[in-house]
Symmetry: C2
Subunit: 116 residues, 2 copies
């Protein structure tokens, strides 16, 4: 079933989650980075630079740079595709899985606290 949100609830939910992330010193990911990270963890693999770039309607260097940064944070991994060695397959990491899982828990918790 679909989730029905009123405007004040939708915005308050986003604010509470964002505030929680900032207050707790989580990585200050941009909307782009977050969309890439969540796509990697939610959509079925394989994920490639070109695929993500066209999915998000951005250039390839944007994806490469985001992967550089999130790779340094160990949120995602990169490995060559043995079948076609031009491709880079983007994968999940333990750290990234924990981050995403925890993030989902924060959303759920803040949604539960929303006033009527």
């Amino acid at each position: 079933m679909a989730i029905a949100l009123r405007p004040s609830q939708a915005l308050r939910l986003w604010q509470q989650v964002a505030l929680h992330e900032v207050e707790n010193g989580m990585p200050d990911l941009s909307t782009r980075q977050l969309s890439i990270l969540l796509t990697i963890y939610l959509d079925p693999p394989p994920h490639t630079v070109r695929g993500l770039a066209s999915r998000l309607n951005v250039s390839k260097p944007v994806i490469t740079r985001a992967l550089d940064t999130m790779g340094a944070l160990e949120l995602v991994s990169r490995r060559r595709d043995d079948a076609d060695r031009r491709n880079v397959l983007i994968g999940r990491t333990v750290t990234g899985a924990l981050f995403v899982e925890r993030f989902g828990d924060v959303v759920i918790a803040k949604a539960k606290e929303l006033p009527t």
Copy 2:
């Protein structure tokens, strides 16, 4: 009443909203910037640099820089406090109000599309 979200719904909602923002070329705000913007528009004024800094548990320059950037985007405004001219009062703008309102609509729309 509280909103009950399952983990897959919570994460999928965030992904869909983030993807929508990126695809449509909206400003690529960081989590910090978003939390500041939403706090200005959702919490009762007055808002000051020091108040936001302590609310978010970050340093004052972080707030100043975020206000610089979002001010250039005309999402927020700054004016001196006549009562105490050390203070800067942070206010809303027409552009910012439209942005926030539209963002809320995106959240609501994506929540409505969530699979059960």
